[in-house]
């Protein structure tokens, strides 16, 4: 028998709190005193209980969601399920019991990501309309560069019977270098995964490098080597791109995802990798999660001010190199220089948890199809 199985006032107080939370209560553990009978195999961990309290503060979870939270295990490596300080005495072994209010926010996010990953799998991806036949008279083209610009353009053109490929122009799409950096990181969060922004950006600055899809000079040079420089067009105003491939109507761009949204996708993606194969993970993150997060809004990610000087130097070098190489440039070359954007220089754990709670409650209320946000954002 372990300390948690003992019928002591502390353990009964803990079970009383569990019942209070089950009923939608929001009283913190340290203010709780009512005792209750044991109702379960084991007392849930402090992380699960505090997450449930936060969910209760944010909305009204169903009984199903409540049970899912209480029986959830935090995925990945990290602190084990912790016991409640005051419910049991500290033993001579095992992690110390904690007051759940003192838990770091990322501990709660860890539990939430496991549940969100399950929700995503249950929700599936929205039905895609059948691809139309490829118009034989279409302008042949290929797209390279900033993935947040190229991906929706490629999808939009394909949906209009103009898939990429063939012998034609190569559009190297770009915008200000700071935005391209955040775009590349965000895209990775919704695809194969990335290191945390705070671990990913500094090495780029330290080694004075840009990731391949944000390095327009390298991109353009690589394509010029394959198809010749005359067919390479550098597009710095995305609105001009459709006309270059023979389309008049504008193609919708990706709606912006906040810094916290991208970070949440990164963390959920890591868990999703244990539930579905990589192509399915990518589809769920992009087609199901991304529109939902975009609909929730929030400040976008921007490069922190301490790197602006480096960013400007890189942008000037890029602009000069592209002009010197003689590629056709569509849009203002100075668009590459860092623009002053309002945003968050890094995701915040509190913001990420807030989004996670809203997604959990939204999914709980709309059911597995849960496409309310998906439809808005599509």
């Amino acid at each position: 028998m372990t300390a948690l199985d003992a019928d002591t006032p502390g353990v009964r107080r803990a079970w009383g709190w569990v019942e209070h939370l089950r009923q939608g209560g929001t009283t913190p553990w340290r203010d709780w005193s009512v005792q209750g009978p044991a109702r379960g195999r084991v007392l849930p961990g402090a992380q699960q209980l505090e997450l449930l309290r936060r969910v209760n503060l944010a909305g009204a979870p169903s009984a199903t969601l409540v049970e899912r939270i209480l029986t959830a295990s935090a995925p990945g490596r990290g602190r084990p399920d912790l016991e409640l300080a005051g419910a049991v005495e500290r033993l001579r072994f095992g992690p110390a019991p904690v007051d759940p209010a003192d838990l770091a926010t990322h501990e709660l996010i860890r539990v939430a990501t496991g549940l969100l990953a399950e929700d995503l799998v249950a929700a599936g991806t929205p039905e895609r309309p059948a691809a139309p036949w490829a118009r034989p008279w279409r302008t042949r083209y290929r797209l390279a560069g900033d993935p947040v610009l190229t991906e929706p353009l490629r999808a939009g053109l394909t949906a209009r019977g103009r898939p990429p490929g063939g012998r034609g122009v190569v559009l190297v799409m770009g915008t200000d270098v700071g935005r391209m950096l955040t775009d590349v990181w965000t895209t990775r969060c919704f695809a194969e995964g990335a290191r945390a922004w705070s671990d990913w950006l500094p090495p780029q600055v330290r080694h004075n490098t840009l990731p391949p899809r944000a390095d327009l000079v390298r991109c353009a040079r690589a394509w010029a080597g394959r198809v010749g420089p005359d067919r390479v067009h550098v597009v710095l105003d995305p609105a001009l791109a459709p006309r270059l491939v023979g389309v008049r109507r504008p193609v919708p761009a990706y709606p912006d995802v906040s810094a916290d949204g991208a970070e949440l996708a990164r963390r959920v993606g890591a868990v999703l990798g244990l539930l579905v194969v990589p192509p399915r993970r990518r589809a769920l993150l992009r087609e199901t999660l991304r529109p939902r997060l975009a609909a929730l809004g929030g400040p976008p990610l921007v490069v922190p001010p301490e790197h602006h000087e480096w960013l400007r130097a890189r942008a000037v070098r890029m602009r000069d190199a592209l002009l010197r190489a003689g590629y056709a440039v569509h849009g203002d070359p100075d668009a590459l220089l860092t623009a002053d954007r309002v945003g968050a220089p890094a995701p915040s754990d509190d913001g990420v948890l807030g989004l996670a709670l809203r997604l959990l409650l939204d999914h709980d209320q709309t059911g597995p199809t849960g496409l309310a946000f998906g439809k808005e954002g599509m």
Partner: protein, 404 residues
């Protein structure tokens, strides 16, 4: 016959690789004796554990999707005894343990036993640090010791270490739903004892006595000495950024650590600093007291957990002898050169084979009938009517190929 599941859940560095290797290679013999070791590949139980605990592992987790449920399904269908074994199961949370036991039929009459092999902390601590280094870590030994001794246990290293090593806590999680007589503790004998003693203890705990098993090990997780581990840590520092996990595993962990550096036997062995020794023995003593009170089945001797006495001459892996590290580095370079030569020979052979395939393809293209067909297609593609005719022909032929 009672349906039984023997679940070996750890701890790491207690001869688990050897045990799993013997069980895997002897599956047919075991099956003939009514014992199932359900694995179609050596690491099947590792993948199942990753799946159960939703543990990312450098990309390997993509091979683990659904692995636990498949394993549990196989166990439920087997009428006799099943054995499952992986040391990372030691980290399972209480709810994961609940799910595991449920899926193995714990509440449906199956007799589930938990087996935990344990070794003294005096040897486990340096072994765990070395294992971290073999998994790309660059943490110094001193820092590692500080982190695991910090009572807060908040770092990644400390949470993992105690999750897989703290015997009473592991048994609290795994033994919560089981009577003490179904929990078996196998102690690893102290150094210098008979080499077969540990196997005999495993054999007794798992009910394998009397079976004719091939005990020749093909796989093991060998240890490194002080300069070799120091070298590996330096390699991690220099190469981690460039070397992705799928390349790190075969080149650094397998080729350098296991196949090359572990064979150097003359160098000083990793050990606990004499100053940390009393603390480790105090911790072990509290565990022994706890285990005795709980009345588990102990296979071996709990006194084994006290560990060997401190070394008279201790070698610090954070400040190794540079001469010894250089010697290890020369061996490492030699191994990499030989591997590179082997890869070059393979590349040359494949290049030759590809060239021969190209030549054979060209010869096929040079046949008069092929050239005639090619000429006709070229002519037809030049005009609208010809292209339509070709399209009709391809439609009638039933596949959208342009090779004709």
């Amino acid at each position: 016959m009672t349906k039984r599941v023997l679940l070996h859940v750890g701890t790491p560095k207690t001869g688990t690789s050897y045990l799993q290797d013997v069980l895997f290679r002897n599956r047919p013999t075991l099956a003939r004796n009514g014992i199932l070791y359900p694995a179609d590949r050596f690491d099947a139980h590792f993948l199942a554990a990753l799946d159960l605990m939703r543990l990312p592992w450098g990309g390997l987790e993509t091979e683990a999707i659904g692995a636990w449920d498949r394993l549990a399904d196989e166990v439920r269908r087997w009428p006799g005894t099943s054995i499952l074994s992986h040391e990372i199961l030691a980290t399972a949370s209480r709810s994961q343990v609940g799910r595991a036991l449920e899926s193995l039929g714990h509440h449906d009459g199956t007799e589930v036993h938990v087996v935990l092999s344990v070794r003294d902390l005096v040897r486990q601590i340096p072994a765990e640090w070395q294992e971290n280094v073999k998994h790309r870590s660059v943490i110094s030994y001193e820092r590692f010791l500080e982190e695991i001794r910090d009572p807060a246990r908040e770092t990644r290293i400390a949470t993992w270490f105690w999750a897989v090593q703290e015997v009473p806590d592991i048994l609290n999680r795994w033994g919560h739903d089981l009577p003490p007589e179904r929990i078996h503790l196998v102690t690893v004998p102290p150094p210098g004892g008979p080499p077969t003693l540990l196997w005999q203890r495993f054999s007794q705990a798992l009910g394998l006595d009397g079976l004719q098993l091939d005990l020749e090990a093909e796989r093991a997780n060998p240890s490194l000495g002080v300069p070799e581990t120091a070298l590996l840590r330096r390699i991690n520092r220099a190469a981690n950024r460039q070397l992705d996990p799928p390349d790190y595993r075969p080149l650094v962990r397998e080729l350098l650590a296991h196949q090359t550096l572990s064979r150097r036997t003359g160098s000083p062995r990793l050990a606990l600093p004499p100053g940390v020794h009393p603390w480790a023995q105090d911790v072990a003593a509290t565990w022994v007291d706890e285990v005795k009170q709980r009345g588990y089945d102990v296979v071996g001797d709990l006194a084994d957990l006290a560990g060997p006495p401190p070394l008279e001459v201790w070698a610090d892996p954070d400040q190794p002898s540079e001469k010894q590290v250089a010697g290890a580095a020369v061996d490492a370079i030699t191994a990499l050169l030989l591997e590179n030569a082997r890869a070059r020979h393979t590349e040359e052979r494949l290049g030759r084979e590809l060239h021969e395939a190209h030549l054979a393809l060209e010869r096929a293209y040079l046949r008069p009938t092929y050239r005639l067909r090619e000429k006709i297609v070229r002519r037809l593609q030049a005009g609208t009517a010809g292209r339509r005719l070709l399209a009709v022909y391809r439609l009638a032929r039933g596949r959208n190929s342009r090779s004709a």
